[in-house]
């Protein structure tokens, strides 16, 4: 055995274990984070299953024979079914919200005749596409399961589904919502992932740059220079935003290549034009999304600057900033799988209260043309940012930036919250 290794290792472990910042960051936080993430995943799956079991379908039946009646009864055994008295599909679409339904089936007039003759019958299925998340398209999967089951009971390949999507109340013929969901996966997961990386990366930069001034003993000199104290704060925030922005652009370029692989799964004949379908944000949408992302980024950076101001060195700053991460990761992961409107009210309130949820919510909302939600989110995050910026500017304007320290002993703050250095 290496001479002195055991003794040195013991010293290392003592030092590391006795550092509360490491204890919290490496042991306690993961112990909390993973159960929370597990809970989110479980909740997401449960919600998806619940929504699948609650799938409601409107039936437009042009057939008067016995087989269509049997087929409707067959459908009713798996999902909720409401027969509609209408002559065309265009009359049925506006009725969807009245029944809280997401699916329509149009049974052709020759259904019974073809089933009896064991010849192919084409049945049209229409599914509402909302851009809710990764679990969207579950309705399409249910239809597939029903069709397979029905074919197995009657005769193989008699029933052939023809799927179409309903986007913003308009029927997009021949476009399977699941195909759309695959295409829109970039919007469903790119934004949350980008948010997680952008925010955590830029917060680390901001926190490190403030702590570095303390650790390298340059802060005191800086604070006696003939410059506006707010300029120091603004410079720190801007520098972090620029560096993080460059990193995000590099990341997004790489991520787009990765997402390119999804489009290869789309049949070449589908000829999907997302812009024509209204599933690509407009110029105003992109602008609002940019503003939403910017204010969220600014608030996160200002918060990181404030928190890291209480740390004595870079390691301490990075540890304390880690406490903000759950507020970034949890809404990102949750909204990756679920639509915020599908969440129970208390969770919905929590998600809306977290400023870092809003760019993710905005990414979905601008796609669907819901600018009010985006606007309100921007207003809320901007107000939050103003408060944080005010606190940060006050911190830089006073001696607290120099003297404030967080005490971790016993995971409690020091008697008065701060201690001061003096000689």
């Amino acid at each position: 055995m290496l001479k002195g290794f055991g003794n040195f290792l013991l010293k290392e472990l003592k030092e590391l274990i006795r550092d509360p910042k490491i204890l919290l960051g490496m042991i306690v936080v993961p112990l909390i984070m993973f159960p929370v993430l597990g809970g989110i995943m479980s909740f997401s799956m449960q919600s998806a299953q619940e929504s699948a079991s609650k799938t409601t379908m409107l039936v437009l039946n042009h057939d008067t024979g016995v087989n269509s009646t049997e087929f409707i009864a067959f459908l009713n055994s798996s999902i909720r079914v409401f027969p509609i008295n209408a002559s065309t599909i265009d009359e049925v679409v506006p009725m969807l919200p009245d029944y809280n339904a997401t699916e329509i089936i149009e049974i052709p007039a020759n259904f019974t005749q073809n089933v009896t003759a064991k010849t192919v019958v084409y049945v049209k299925f229409y599914s509402v596409y909302t851009g809710a998340g990764l679990l969207e398209g579950i309705g399409s999967s249910i239809i597939d399961a029903i069709v397979v089951q029905f074919n197995r009971d009657i005769a193989p390949d008699i029933l052939v589904p023809q799927k179409s999507a309903i986007v913003k109340g308009k029927i997009i013929e021949g476009v399977d919502p699941r195909m759309l969901a695959n295409l829109m996966i970039s919007q469903a997961i790119a934004m949350p992932i980008t948010m997680m990386i952008l925010l955590s990366y830029s917060m680390q930069i901001a926190a490190t740059s403030v702590a570095m001034e303390k650790e390298e003993k340059t802060l005191e000199t800086l604070l006696t220079l003939p410059m506006d104290r707010f300029a120091i704060l603004a410079g720190k925030l801007s520098g972090s935003i620029i560096i993080a922005g460059v990193g995000v652009i590099a990341y997004m370029i790489g991520f787009n290549f990765y997402l390119g692989s999804f489009s290869s799964a789309i049949p070449s004949g589908a000829a999907l034009d997302l812009e024509a379908l209204g599933l690509v944000p407009s110029l105003l949408g992109y602008l609002l999304l940019g503003i939403s992302l910017f204010v969220a980024l600014l608030s996160a950076l200002a918060l990181a600057v404030i928190i890291s101001s209480f740390a004595e060195d870079v390691r301490g700053a990075q540890s304390v900033v880690g406490y903000i991460y759950p507020f970034v990761f949890i809404p990102s992961l949750l909204l990756m799988y679920l639509d915020v409107n599908a969440l129970p009210l208390p969770i919905k309130i929590i998600i809306y209260a977290i400023p870092y949820s809003h760019p993710i919510i905005a990414a979905k909302a601008v796609t669907m043309g819901d600018y009010l939600t985006v606007g309100l989110g921007i207003a809320y995050v901007a107000a939050f940012t103003l408060v944080v910026m005010y606190v940060a500017s006050r911190l830089f304007a006073t001696e607290k930036i120099l003297t404030a320290k967080l005490k971790f002993k016993g995971l409690r703050r020091a008697k008065k919250g701060t201690t001061e250095e003096f000689q």
Partner: protein
């Protein structure tokens, strides 16, 4: 008599600890004034309050008749402060660091260039100014920092242990430069030091600080005469009752 610094009844508390205790002091313009005292006497706290880094708990601080609480931004335009443990941005070269600092006061490019050139002469780092600061020794960093504090010819330069970390030759060099700047450009210098010999040779006036209070002040020779001592070290020991 033109007063550069006036401290009236200055008190600074950190929680329950009183670092400065009703301190009174007047420093004349063009003076080299030394604060001397043991560790924890309150020297650095006094310098930090005067340089507008810390706010007084009570009492007043005036720098060239400007109030340190209400006119701190104006004060920062006419002073430079060299902390005892100051650092330099690791990834900037010495030249870039001096340029960065000079830009806060230079009015045009020519003045900026002249200021940095002057700092280069003061620090004597030559070609090494092109290297990144992380490659500098402690002494080289200190020379650069002293040059930074003097290059803009401020009305008041506050130097906390200016020769800390410097060898004998460069300490001598720095002391001579400080004297030259005061003489040629009328800079007022307030410094603190543990090195009594340095203070004796450099300062026109000194104040002995103990437990946040000034226990005595005057010209070094006058103090030595008054206390019948050979040097300021002995004066200090007698004043605080150590000898």
């Amino acid at each position: 008599m033109n007063i550069a610094i006036e401290l009236s009844d200055l008190t600074k508390d950190f929680g329950n600890i009183r670092a400065l205790n009703h301190l009174n002091l007047k420093i004349e313009t063009g003076d080299i004034f030394g604060l001397i005292g043991p560790n924890g006497a309150g020297k650095t706290t006094a310098l930090r309050v005067i340089s507008t880094l810390l706010l007084p708990t009570s009492g007043s601080v005036r720098v060239f008749n400007l109030d340190a609480v209400h006119e701190s931004a104006e004060i920062r335009k006419i002073i430079t402060y060299l902390p005892e443990e100051a650092g330099i941005y690791r990834n900037l070269s010495g030249w870039e660091y001096l340029e960065f600092m000079a830009k806060f006061s230079a009015k045009n490019k020519d003045q900026l260039h002249e200021t940095v050139k002057e700092a280069a002469e003061i620090c004597g780092l030559g070609e090494r100014l092109k290297s990144r600061a992380k490659t500098y020794s402690k002494g080289m960093k200190r020379r650069l920092l002293v040059a930074r504090a003097l290059m803009t010819r401020p009305k008041l330069s506050i130097l906390d242990e200016p020769t800390s970390g410097l060898d004998v030759l460069y300490s001598y060099h720095v002391r001579e430069i400080i004297k030259r700047y005061v003489k040629e450009y009328g800079v007022t210098v307030l410094l603190s030091s543990h090195n009594m010999l340095e203070v004796e040779h450099l300062c026109d006036h000194v104040a002995l600080v103990n437990k946040g209070q000034i226990v005595t002040e005057g010209k070094p020779q006058d103090l030595k005469d008054k206390f019948g001592s050979q040097n300021l070290e002995e004066v200090f020991a007698k004043v605080v009752g150590f000898a």
